[in-house]
Structures are given as C-alpha cells and as structure tokens.
C-alpha cells in the first residue's frame, strides 16, 4: 500500500500498548499459550500419542510421555505402555490438561503431569467462546454451592460434583461412576444454565461471576433460567453486583 495506513485483518477491538497495536477478534478459535489449562476430548489414538480436540484450529497432541502413569510412577514408556494406550484414554474421553508447548503451525502440545489433571468422570461440559474465559491464577474452583468447576482456557467448562475425598492414588485415571445425588445434580444443572446465560450475554466467566449468577438465579426454576427475559434479568443483577463489589 502506498499510504502509511494500518488495516486490520479481523473485526474486533483494538488494544494499544505503547507502539504495539493488537486487534483481538470477537470470536476466534482457541490459540494455545504455554501454561493454559484446557479441557479436551480425545478424537484419535495414534502411535505414542493421542489427538485431542480443544476448539482450536488444529487438533492438540497429548504425547504418551507427557501422560501420568497410574500410581504416579516415573519411568520410560515401554512397548507395553504403547499397546495399553487405549486402556488409559479412548476416543470420546474428556481430559483436563495443561499446555506444554505450541508448535510453529499453531498446534498445541498438552501434558497431564500432575495429579490434578487427567480423565474427567461424571459432570457436564459447557462450550463457550474462548475469549469469554478470564485468565486467572487458578482455573479449578470448588464453589460453595456444592459443585466444582474447571474453566478451560479453550472455552470448554466442566462442571462436576465435588469429590468428598481427594483421590491421590488413582492419578486421575479411574472414573468415579457412583451415582450422583439429586441435590448435586440440581446444583450442577443450575450452574450449567447460569454459565450458558452468561456466555449468551457475553460476560466474562470466572468463579465470582458464576457464583453471583448462581445466587441471582436461585429464586427462579432451573429450566426458566434459559428464557430470554429471565436470562437478561439474572445477568443484569450479576453485572450490578460485580460492579458494586469492584467499586
């Protein structure tokens, strides 16, 4: 171009830091950054690695060597481990993991080298836009209302019943298949509807906003939360409460 003009290639909001001008698109696929927590679904089991779908442009990769072995042991992965891969994670399983590295083409490499990551058991997955999840110090929250939530940076949010005791020995492989009580299920459904309504109204998602929204929705029935008028009312109340808290 002849004139000295900068034209953005996406439609979004402009952020300027000194001489750095950034245009963040409103709705994009997840762009991985090292250290992010993601929730993903296994799509393929390949030799020595799994392909995980994380709402990004390319499928993420979980290498066998980046996965925790049951019992937390540290040893070189052998041929038997490779053959037993499907025993650990199959196609369709949900996992929580952390981003270890980003390849040059944008694909993300994950690892579950900590006991808090691993296969997810019973719960509800909510898919929102990645731009709505606020970056925080921790993404695993135990909400006081009786459920726990994992806010994946890729927009996948996992709501599940708080486990009574921490299962350190399993290392996140054995899924807890005990029946979940009705009270817990109601809490989880309500939380899920609250998250969906916050996402529809384009509010940032973090533990405080979800909790305030949950409390604002208590007077209504769980299935009513998704109705447009009630949704707006609840989110308005949440927004107000958040502003008061910050101001």
């Amino acid at each position: 171009m002849g004139e000295e003009k900068l034209i953005a290639s996406v439609a979004g909001s402009v952020e300027r830091v000194n001489k750095l001008i950034c245009v963040k698109a409103l709705k994009t696929r997840y762009n991985g950054e090292v250290g992010d927590i993601v929730v993903g679904r296994i799509t393929e089991v390949q030799q020595k690695r799994w392909k995980v779908e994380t709402n990004s442009r390319l499928d993420s990769v979980l290498l066998l060597s980046s996965m925790n072995l049951p019992g937390g042991e540290l040893r070189r992965r052998s041929a038997e481990d490779e053959l037993a891969m499907r025993g650990f994670l199959q196609e369709g399983d949900l996992i929580s993991a952390e981003v270890q590295a980003v390849f040059s083409d944008g694909a993300v490499s994950l690892h579950t080298r900590s006991l808090k990551y691993g296969k997810l058991g019973q719960g509800v997955l909510v898919q929102v836009s990645p731009s709505l999840v606020k970056r925080q110090k921790t993404h695993f929250h135990d909400l006081p209302c009786g459920a726990s939530v994992i806010l994946g940076n890729n927009g996948f949010i996992w709501v599940y019943p708080t486990p009574e005791h921490k299962e350190d020995d399993a290392g996140g492989f054995i899924a807890n298949l005990e029946p979940v009580s009705l009270a817990d299920r109601e809490v989880i459904s309500r939380l899920r509807n609250c998250i969906v309504s916050l996402a529809t109204q384009r509010m940032m998602l973090y533990d405080t906003s979800i909790l305030y929204c949950y409390e604002a929705s208590l007077p209504h029935q769980i299935k009513d939360i998704l109705k447009p008028e009630i949704m707006e009312e609840i989110v308005m109340e949440t927004r107000q409460r958040l502003l008061e808290q910050e101001g």
Partner: protein, 242 residues
C-alpha cells in the same frame, strides 16, 4: 461449526441513469435481521452463509504451508420463480463453488493457518439476479464473524450494458434479456479485483464503463458492510464491558 452472525445492514445500490421497472427501485432498503448465520438481503437476492472448520478435512489434501478453502454453493428449491429441485453436485453449483473458492483464496490470509481447512457454505434463499454477488457478500460477513483474517472485505456486484448505458446490480429479468453481464468481486481498500467474470460479447470500448459501474456499486456495498460490522463489534464490546 463456526457460524457467522449477521449484523443489520441496509444496502443501497446506486445504478446509473436509465429508468428501470418499478420492482427495481434502487432506493429500496431492506433491513437485515440479526440471525446466527450471516444473512444478507440485497435488493434482489437473499443468501445465507456460514463457515465451518470443524469438519475433519482429508489429511491427503492438507497443504503444509497454508489453509485449504472449500466453498459449497446450494440454492433453495423456493429461490426462483418456479420451484425447482437442484441436485447437490450439479454443474452450476460446482462452478459457483469454484468461483467462490477462487475469490476467497485471494482474500483470506491462508498462510496463517497451515494444514487446516476453511469451509464456506452458502445457500441462496431468494434469487433474482446477482446471486454470485450476494453469495460473496454474505460469505465475507461469515468469514469476518468467524475471526478468520482477511486482506480486506470482498464486495461484489454484477453489471451489464443495455441500450448504451451501463447498469449495476442486474435483476433476473435484465439478466435473462440476454445482454452482456459481468460479475466483479473487489477488495475495496486497495481497489484490487479478486474475480472478474463475464461470458458474453462486449465491445472493448464499453468495458471501461461497465467495470466502473460495477466497481462503484461494490464500493457502496462496502460502505454498508463496514458500517454494519463496526456497529456489531461495538455492541459486543460494550456487553463485554471493555
């Protein structure tokens, strides 16, 4: 499936002189409603489009350094005057898909997405001339909404030559009359042409005039699309509390 959201837009295509039949009032503005998919209502044709890049593209066709753009065009049975069932793989759909692909490969920055596939699906809901132009404009909105980086907006318009005057944005009646008609897809900021297509005979002295009419109309479409996108982004940012 990533779906493009539609902002509201009121297109006003200006065409040159000649009085045209009542149904083609150039000042007829039709508001576009906000829908989950990009839905464009131009004065003559309506089309809706969406982009999806969650389909597992074939590994064999993946290009190592850039993205593959795949466009599919389909026409609703109720889009023309007579209800006509169009099978999916027919020649017109394939050709239109190919033209759309060529247009968008020129506009989308494919180097930023190696080994990926970008799918654009366009469906024409009401065809009254200028279907290629409506498809291109709708697809631009969908791609923008999906957050896929592009060089510029792609704005398109058709133009023809009747009785010594160049006309922009032809209707079906004018197209069927048999005169020369061309379709132009333009990148407005730089003035570069993404696609220029004509299959009729036109004297080269008139080409300049017709091209100019199409370019002017495309720029008008660009003004409208630009305004609409900015408004949509502003509304969304306000909600986010930025």
């Amino acid at each position: 499936m990533v779906e493009g959201a539609a902002p509201t837009a009121k297109p006003g295509i200006n065409d040159t002189a000649t009085p045209r039949p009542a149904c083609l009032q150039p000042s007829s503005h039709k508001p576009i409603s906000k829908r989950p998919q990009a839905y464009l209502r131009a004065p003559h044709s309506h089309s809706s489009s969406r982009t999806g890049n969650e389909i597992r593209g074939s590994r064999a066709r993946a290009l190592p350094d850039r993205a593959l753009v795949n466009c599919q065009y389909s026409s609703a049975t109720f889009s023309t005057g007579e209800r006509k069932r169009r099978p999916h793989g027919d020649r017109k759909s394939c050709e239109m898909g190919l033209q759309l692909r060529q247009t968008f490969e020129a506009a989308i920055l494919t180097q930023l997405h190696p080994r990926s596939q970008i799918d654009i699906y366009v469906q024409v809901l009401q065809a009254d001339g200028g279907t290629y132009a409506a498809c291109v404009n709708a697809a631009t909105l969908a791609v923008l909404d999906a957050g896929i980086p592009m060089r510029d907006f792609v704005c398109a318009c058709s133009a023809g030559f009747v009785d010594g005057t160049a006309l922009a944005d032809l209707s079906h009646v004018e197209e069927a009359a048999g005169g020369p008609q061309l379709a132009l897809a333009l990148l407005p900021a730089s003035g570069q042409i993404a696609l220029l297509e004509m299959d009729a005979r036109l004297h080269e002295d008139h080409l300049e005039q017709v091209l100019e009419a199409a370019a002017r109309a495309s720029r008008d479409v660009h003004t409208v699309l630009d305004r609409v996108v900015r408004q949509h982004v502003q509304e969304a940012s306000v909600l986010l509390g930025d």
